[in-house]
């Protein structure tokens, strides 16, 4: 039973992390390597707002989310927009931005900026305490993760199916040229997508980080998980990302229960390699691989 609960929590964690990346990639074919960096950035920003500036928790969260969304838009406008159409440069630049943020957070002694080093940064849980579900003791925060994840997915679904902006994003995701002919500006859509994607990264951070502590290294781990989910589920496929999250989430929990926590990484690598060999476009991938792109 506890495998079921922890498996679900783990899976929903993956969903939360991957959803922002999938959005950006689906809409503008940009692999946002800075996704993990934004996740961690929001964690640290929130911590700073609460601890250094004394702002109350919910307000701090909202501020950080706004900041991260703006940062996403800025990254696009300043850097990526000039590189559209040159996939090599887009990838390199996105990667570089990610490193600037992640390594920048570890800087020490530049103009009085004390870097964020060490496992000392903790975000408090929304509700302290535990609940008993079917005989298993579960933190409320973990339940919030599940609830939050479902809410995010539901809201996103509503957004992309029932609002003008959301629909235009879906249009661009399906066929960029056709959407442009209908008057949808692909650069503006990309800015929107990147803002929302960054905000989603931040949202994932504030929901999940209270379960542990905030470190800069987590940025790489989060990015790897997001990438793994997208590869396994199919780059650009929502349903695929959700499915892959659950497959991966449960696989890792089960392997931990059976063989110990150390084998988690092996499971991850194995899953990626297996998918690439057997069904490279991912479990539910609609995008064609090399072959059918004429």
């Amino acid at each position: 039973m506890d495998i079921l609960i922890y498996g679900t929590v783990n899976s929903v964690t993956f969903v939360l992390i991957a959803v922002g990346f999938t959005l950006v990639y689906g809409v503008s074919r940009l692999p946002n390597f800075a996704h993990g960096a934004l996740y961690v950035l929001v964690g640290f920003l929130t911590w700073s707002f609460v601890n250094d500036l004394g702002i109350n928790y919910p307000l701090a969260i909202i501020l950080s989310l706004i900041l991260s969304a703006s940062l996403g838009a800025v990254i696009y406008r300043l850097v990526l927009i000039r590189l559209r159409g040159m996939p090599t440069s887009e990838i390199i630049a996105s990667f570089a931005v990610s490193l600037i943020i992640l390594e920048g957070l570890r800087l020490q002694g530049i103009g009085g900026f004390k870097g964020f080093i060490g496992p000392f940064y903790v975000l408090p849980a929304f509700i302290e305490g535990k609940a008993r579900i079917s005989g298993v003791l579960v933190d409320y925060q973990r339940l919030i993760v599940i609830g939050g994840g479902l809410a995010v997915v539901a809201l996103l679904w509503l957004f992309t199916h029932h609002t003008r902006i959301g629909l235009s994003l879906r249009a661009i995701a399906q066929d960029e040229q056709a959407a442009m002919m209908l008057g949808i500006d692909s650069d503006r859509a990309a800015v929107v997508a990147l803002s929302i994607g960054s905000a989603l990264a931040g949202l994932a951070a504030v929901i999940i980080l209270p379960l542990g502590n905030v470190t800069a290294e987590a940025g790489y781990r989060v990015l790897i998980h997001a990438l793994a989910v997208c590869i396994i589920g199919g780059l650009g496929s929502w349903a695929g990302a959700v499915l892959a999250s659950f497959v991966l989430g449960f696989a890792m929990i089960v392997s931990t229960a059976l063989f110990g926590a150390v084998w988690e990484s092996v499971v991850l690598v194995g899953a990626i390699i297996i998918i690439l060999i057997l069904k490279p476009s991912g479990l539910l991938g609609k995008q064609k691989e090399l072959e059918e792109r004429v």
Binding site: P31, F33, V79, R82, L83, P87, T88, S89, I91, I92, A93, F95, A96, V97, L99, I100, E103, G104, R106, L107, Q108, G109, I110, G115, Y220, R221, I224, L227, A228, I231, L235, A261, V262, W263, E264, S265, V266, L268, V269, I272, I273, L276, I277, P280, E289, L290, E291, R293, V294
Partner: protein, 320 residues
């Protein structure tokens, strides 16, 4: 507009014009160890390793169309294999380095193989993930002494061997790659990069060519790793550090992607700079990335292309 016609090497002047830059480069590199202090000689060795990685990156990115974000994986593979052979079997560097270079390259190519049938983005993503995943696995399973690493490996007899070995490798690799991209196999790779569908319509299996290209690039990287483990006599998870992935890319962008020489020069520029900033911790990485972004957005041609243009303009000047 330059045509690719065959030069009639009728005059000494023409030959000098073509050979001069290359001679300057080779001699310059070979003479450097004699004028540098010991500290900077060590830096030169590092620069050489980064130069090999940058060369591999440029080759894969501009001549094959694959963006490799995980140069660290080659270093780690080469380093761990050669170090392990030395530590557990006692083999000397003169054996471990060649074996590690080839085995490491085979291993790297093998794990990257599944992505080679797919669009370039997969290669970028997977190559990014592998060095980090390798570290997770080594730490989790605590193989090769996990985070501690293995020390007291055999090192090279003296600092001259250190330097000339790597400089030699860089020069040989550079000229080999320049030959390669103009040989038939290089032309096919460039064709694949420009228009892979047309290459398939000519009956050529692109996956197999990409595989060969990745193998060649990883040979250079794995040699660098194998060399590194015997340079300091130590191996550990820092062989997979992000530095080895990002600095070659910054060096390539700065130096001029596509020129093969540019990235090598870029490495020899950025590495000393990075050393000078060692006291500032992670500032180095932030700085390379800023430089990289600056160049890629504002001056994408990079130094080498810029210099080449000026040099050719200069030549025309003279004739008039």
């Amino acid at each position: 507009m330059r045509t690719e016609s065959l030069y009639a090497l009728s005059s000494w002047r023409e030959m000098a014009y073509l050979l001069m830059p290359r001679l300057v480069l080779i001699l310059g590199l070979l003479l450097l160890p004699l004028v540098l202090s010991m500290y900077w000689q060590r830096v030169l060795c590092s620069a050489g390793i980064y130069a090999l990685l940058a060369l591999g990156f440029d080759f894969l990115a501009q001549y094959v169309g694959l963006v490799s974000l995980g140069g660290a994986f080659f270093i780690g593979a080469g380093g761990y294999i050669s170090g392990a052979l030395n530590a557990y079997l006692g083999w000397p560097p003169v054996l471990t380095i060649p074996i590690a270079t080839i085995t490491g390259a085979l291993m790297s190519t093998l794990v990257l193989l599944p992505c080679l049938r797919l669009r370039g983005i997969y290669f970028a993503i997977v190559s990014f993930m592998f060095p980090l995943l390798a570290v997770y696995i080594i730490v989790a399973l605590n193989v090769f002494r996990g985070t501690e690493g293995i020390s007291a490996l055999a090192t090279f007899p003296n600092i001259w061997v250190d330097q000339y070995l790597i400089l030699g490798a860089v020069i040989v690799s550079l000229f080999a790659m320049r030959r390669l991209v103009n040989e038939d196999i290089g032309l096919i790779l460039r064709g694949i990069r420009d228009n892979d569908q047309a290459v398939r319509a000519s009956g050529i299996d692109i996956t197999s060519y990409r595989t060969k290209a990745v193998f060649i690039a990883s040979l250079m990287g794995c040699f660098g790793g194998a060399y590194l483990s015997h340079l300091y006599g130590w191996l550990g998870i820092s062989l997979f550090s992000m530095d080895f992935s990002i600095l070659p890319i910054a060096a390539a962008v700065l130096g001029g992607m596509g020129t093969l020489v540019g990235p090598v020069l870029g490495a020899f520029i950025l590495t000393p700079m990075s050393e000078a900033l060692r006291g500032f911790g992670q500032l180095r990485v932030v700085l390379y990335c800023l430089i990289l972004i600056g160049f890629i957005v504002y001056k994408p041609e990079g130094l080498m292309n810029y210099l080449q243009r000026k040099y050719h303009q200069f030549e025309h000047w003279e004739e008039v």
